[in-house]
């Protein structure tokens, strides 16, 4: 399984790492038992994402997708941000190995949860819908071949 150059770039030097202390919205998804946990904090201004930071415990793809999704979302309207799909994330990274596609779901999910958190805190209607934060949201892929330690 080989990562694209873009994935390795974002993994090696992830953008927007950290926590916004006085965040307007917080999204936390994943589960340490699954090995992937992501926390996104956002600052919102005029329904646009003004600032965004993430923390991720996870594999190379999890970190890279977290990094790219924050890049993508920064400056977007909330509606645009929650519309980002896992395939767009993967595309932006020059592709992901099939077995890693679920990581891009983690990133988009984190973003959605943060946006809805912001909206709900403001007493508004959530727009992203319910995210089961511990659900890995993917079909175990048939075509991966790195199952075991040798």
């Amino acid at each position: 399984m080989i990562y694209s150059e873009k994935v390795m770039e974002h993994f090696g030097n992830p953008h927007n790492v950290g926590v916004i202390e006085d965040a307007d919205g917080i999204g936390e998804v994943g589960n340490p038992v699954c090995g992937d946990v992501m926390k996104i904090t956002i600052k919102v201004d005029d329904d646009r994402i003004d600032d965004i930071k993430f923390q991720t415990l996870g594999c190379g793809a999890a970190i890279a997708t977290s990094s790219i999704v924050t890049d993508m979302a920064k400056g977007m309207t909330l509606a645009e941000a929650v519309a980002i799909t896992k395939n767009q994330v993967a595309e932006e990274l020059g592709g992901l190995p099939p077995a890693k596609m679920h990581c891009s779901v983690l990133a988009t999910d984190g973003l959605k949860v943060a946006v809805d958190d912001y909206l709900v805190k403001r007493g508004r209607e959530p727009i992203a819908g319910e995210i089961k934060s511990s659900d890995p949201h993917f079909d175990p892929h048939e075509d991966d071949d790195e199952d075991h330690t040798h």
Binding site: G12, T56, C59, G60, T149
Partner: protein, 398 residues
């Protein structure tokens, strides 16, 4: 990047130049089919039988007890399925340890789907399958027990002799997967009292795609690869003469160098354990209580980091190690080995296997620790749950 450190010898090894030299003539000159009657074929047959004798001598077996295969996986498949189904048997009880390599587990599961009853026997938290536990799991209809000689992830050495005796006491056959131990620990089939054992060439500086199966004289086994009847009808397929000569040569080198190499690697391992545990907070050695372990494998849990991320950062520093985290599989399942010895799932994701070998130096090990410390720090700083994890760890300690 100045320094490079290959620290994944348990995954595979470079082929030793002396092995390559031994192999080369068999490609272009001594290329006969070992089953052919004419001079070129007889020459190949002699080389093959010579290789067989050398392997037999190393493991204390008779030459006709050595079957050449395409690797550890084929040997394991052949032993598990071939021994269980020998003579057309279609039912019975089979015991395998829960932390076997998948090359043993999968055939056992296959048997489980085809009429056999399969027990996965757990090792204890020390990473050892205890003979009493095996004795308790054995039944009157147990036909086969398979417990690996040395575990490939955590490096614990199993009491194979006692386990084999326990199996025999109840009339079961005993197989051991020795892919990780051949050439690295003493291995004598008579002393161990086993019926079958699997070996892999690429773990001992031999070529990939080579291996062997020890099968005790008189033990019945259904062949797995069927066809031309080579290897005395026990493994069909034109023999890989070059590869088998390479395997035998590699094993001889292992045997010759073990007296100095085993203690050297054990000292390196101890040095690594001391430094790594000293410099990385909350790091733990897996199976720390094992009474017996291989000199070349050390497996750590580093709470608060994920294995693949750690591995990729080390890779960027020129360091090759492996992780039991199987995030890469898409199944999100962490190492079945670590889980079998009671490692919590969330920590199993942060495991680090360091395995050393012929070309490893103390500088390599030091370089690893030096690079690892900031990587762990960085990954932990990116972990949204790290503080919670530490609180739990400290709580558990107190």
């Amino acid at each position: 990047m100045e320094h490079k450190a290959y620290l994944d010898y348990a995954a595979t090894t470079p082929t030793d130049q002396r092995v390559v030299d031994a192999i080369l003539p068999f490609f272009t000159e001594r290329y006969g089919n070992a089953n052919s009657l004419y001079a070129l074929g007889r020459d190949a047959a002699r080389a093959l039988e010579d290789a067989r004798e050398r392997v037999a001598a190393s493991i204390g077996a008779r030459p006709d007890e050595v079957i050449f295969t395409s690797g550890g996986t084929e040997s394991d498949n052949t032993a598990i399925i071939g021994l269980a189904t020998a003579g057309g048997r279609a039912t019975g009880h089979v015991i395998v340890s829960a932390f076997e390599h998948h090359a043993v587990l999968e055939p056992a599961w296959w048997l489980g789907k085809h009429g056999f009853d399969v027990t996965e026997l757990k090792p204890r938290t020390d990473g050892i399958v205890h003979p009493e536990d095996l004795a308790a799991a054995l039944r009157d209809d147990t036909v086969l027990v398979s417990v690996m000689h040395g575990n490939n992830e955590i490096g614990t050495l199993q009491p194979v002799r006692e386990l084999a005796a326990a199996a025999h006491a109840r009339g079961a056959l005993f197989h051991t997967d020795a892919a990780q131990t051949l050439g690295k620990a003493d291995f004598d089939v008579t002393e161990l009292g086993i019926d079958a054992a699997s070996f892999s060439g690429h773990k001992i500086y031999g070529p990939k795609g080579t291996g062997a199966l020890f099968l005790k004289k008189g033990v019945r086994m259904a062949p797995y690869l069927m066809g031309g009847g080579q290897e005395s009808k026990r493994r069909s397929g034109t023999q890989n003469v070059a590869g088998n000569v390479g395997f035998a040569t590699a094993l001889e080198i292992m045997d010759a160098e073990r007296p100095t190499e085993a203690p050297r690697l054990a000292a390196l391992r101890d040095h690594l354990v001391e430094r790594l545990l000293g410099e990385i907070h909350y790091a733990r050695l897996n199976a720390v209580d094992a009474a017996t372990r291989l000199p070349h494998i050390a497996n750590f849990v580093i709470p608060g980091v994920e294995g693949e991320a750690m591995l990729l950062h080390l890779d960027a520093a020129g360091i090759a190690v492996s992780t039991g985290s199987a995030c890469s599989s898409g199944s999100l399942k962490p190492s079945h080995v670590l889980l079998s010895i009671g490692c919590p799932v969330e920590f199993a994701h942060g495991s680090l296997r360091v395995s050393t070998g012929r070309f490893t130096t103390e500088a390599d090990v030091d370089y690893l620790v030096e690079k690892l410390v900031p990587i762990v720090e960085r990954l932990r700083s990116m972990n949204p749950l790290y503080e919670k994890t530490v609180a739990e760890l400290v709580g558990a300690k107190g």
